[in-house]
């Protein structure tokens, strides 16, 4: 008898679990109050919006005329060459990544990134080949902006930097710190090869831009307010980087109802 009760209980719960999934989804309705539960737009403090929009327009023109065509040309290079350039640039960033991981108390990640740098700089021929990835040492990016955020420094206001694009007060400070403390740049300058610094920045920009040609075009061609779309994208992306979000489950979930007409 007790066995029958257990089986009945078990079947009831199995059925219920399906029922709950279906019925609760039906009952999700958006009402006017829901719109007040999220303050996504309000979180972006943009007191310099008119100036930012002007710089954004300038950047957009510069992108269309200069960066995008170069990035499209770069995309036509043989893919091993593109991967090699990307790996090389990424390896140059590694020493500062390690510094920032240490500053954020990520000891294990710092060891892993150091291992990546040593391995890729030697076996990977100055970082051209990402051999570390193949043995499970994954690339993790950290910068001063993320470090400052981890230390509790707020975003500050939103800024669009000429040519560099979207940023905020904290991340701009982080960028300046990167420029001042990057050992590779410092070495190039000390050797009288300062021209390598802007060259590296330019190649980095082309390499990054080449990876998001379709995404940027889709956003630019289909936005009612491209400036606001980029601003929101920047904040979402930075927030995920600061929180080291690998799982999209942690991305804020909008309250969406399912409705049948």
């Amino acid at each position: 008898m007790s066995k029958k009760i257990i089986i009945l209980f078990f079947l009831f719960f199995s059925l219920l679990s399906y029922k709950v999934i279906a019925s609760d989804a039906d009952q999700v309705n958006t009402d006017s109050e829901d719109f007040e539960t999220t303050t996504i737009e309000d979180e972006i403090y943009d007191p310099l919006e008119p100036i930012n929009r002007a710089i954004f327009s300038f950047n957009n023109v510069a992108d269309r005329i200069v960066l995008e065509p170069i990035a499209k040309g770069y995309k036509k290079l043989p893919s091993p060459l593109q991967s090699g350039i990307n790996n090389f640039l990424s390896n140059l960033r590694a020493p500062l990544v390690v510094v920032n991981q240490l500053l954020q108390g990520q000891g294990e990640n710092a060891i892993q990134s150091s291992g990546r740098f040593i391995l890729n700089s030697t076996v990977g021929v100055f970082g051209l080949f990402d051999v570390a990835e193949k043995i499970g040492l994954e690339e993790k990016e950290e910068d001063y902006g993320q470090t400052l955020a981890t230390w509790g420094v707020g975003d500050g206001f939103y800024i669009v930097l000429p040519l560099f694009g979207p940023s905020n007060l904290r991340d701009t400070s982080g960028m300046v710190l990167t420029m001042m403390t990057d050992p590779i740049n410092a070495y190039a300058v000390s050797e009288g090869e300062a021209w390598l610094v802007p060259m590296r920045t330019a190649v980095n920009a082309v390499d990054t831009r080449s990876q998001i040609i379709d995404e940027v075009n889709a956003l630019r061609d289909n936005s009612v307010d491209y400036y606001a779309a980029v601003r929101s994208s920047y904040y979402q992306n930075r927030k995920a980087a600061i929180n080291n979000v690998d799982d999209s489950e942690l991305t804020p979930l909008p309250l969406i109802s399912i409705e049948f007409e």
């Binding site: 257990i6 039906d26 006017s32 719109f35 893919s79 991967s83 379709d214 889709a218 909008p254 409705e259």
Partner: protein, 200 residues
């Protein structure tokens, strides 16, 4: 007793996984319809977009997303304005997704991970798109309602399409004093421009 308890937990676990698999299979079918449309050279650009738009409208929670992204402006509007807005928004959504998927049409993809989020009762499906130089992960958020699945959001590089649209729309709505009927004109014009680009 322990045995039955074990079986019970096991079945619940399996059922959740089966549910995720079923969602992934459905999503794969729908993605393939869109990607195949891009590969089909017999279709004119206009017919290709119309086919993709139909697929997107059938599978996205368009009305719900439209309401969410309109924010405060939704409350103030009359029924007819809302209806026009929803129609405009659905086309806008289709144009956005179609434009994004166009870039992925010559690449291979795999649905790499599927996970049921118990708390929010949604399924998260990771789609990894491979190119010669690397890969990009797009996460689809899927909700079930009345035995059907609906996409409620797309996340590319930690950027939610719906959150971005809400931010973008709010910014534009502020310029028209949260007047949805005025915004409808802006959205309609933008759709015309986007439609010309995708069908040219």
């Amino acid at each position: 007793m322990k045995f039955y308890l074990f079986i019970f937990i096991f079945i619940i676990f399996i059922s959740k996984n089966l549910y995720s698999d079923e969602t992934s299979e459905w999503l794969k079918r729908e993605i393939d319809i869109i990607l195949e449309a891009y590969k089909n050279e017999n279709l004119s650009n206009e017919n290709r977009f119309l086919l993709i738009e139909k697929t997107i409208n059938n599978n996205f929670a368009g009305t719900g997303i439209a309401k969410f992204v309109a924010g405060e402006a939704w409350k103030k509007s009359d029924k007819n304005t809302k209806k026009i807005y929803i129609d405009n928004f659905k086309r806008h959504l289709a144009l956005n997704i179609a434009s994004m998927m166009q870039g992925y049409s010559d690449q291979t993809y795999e649905l790499t991970k599927s996970k049921y989020d118990n708390k929010n009762q949604i399924t998260l499906i990771d789609m990894e798109i491979f190119s010669d130089t690397g890969s990009v992960v797009v996460t689809w958020r899927v909700k079930e309602s009345k035995d059907r699945f609906f996409v409620i959001d797309l996340i590319v590089a930690d950027i939610s399409l719906v959150v971005t649209k809400r931010s973008e729309f709010n910014s534009m709505l502020k310029k028209v004093d949260n007047d949805l009927s005025k915004f409808n004109e802006v959205l309609f014009d933008q759709n015309q421009i986007s439609y010309q680009k995708i069908t040219e």
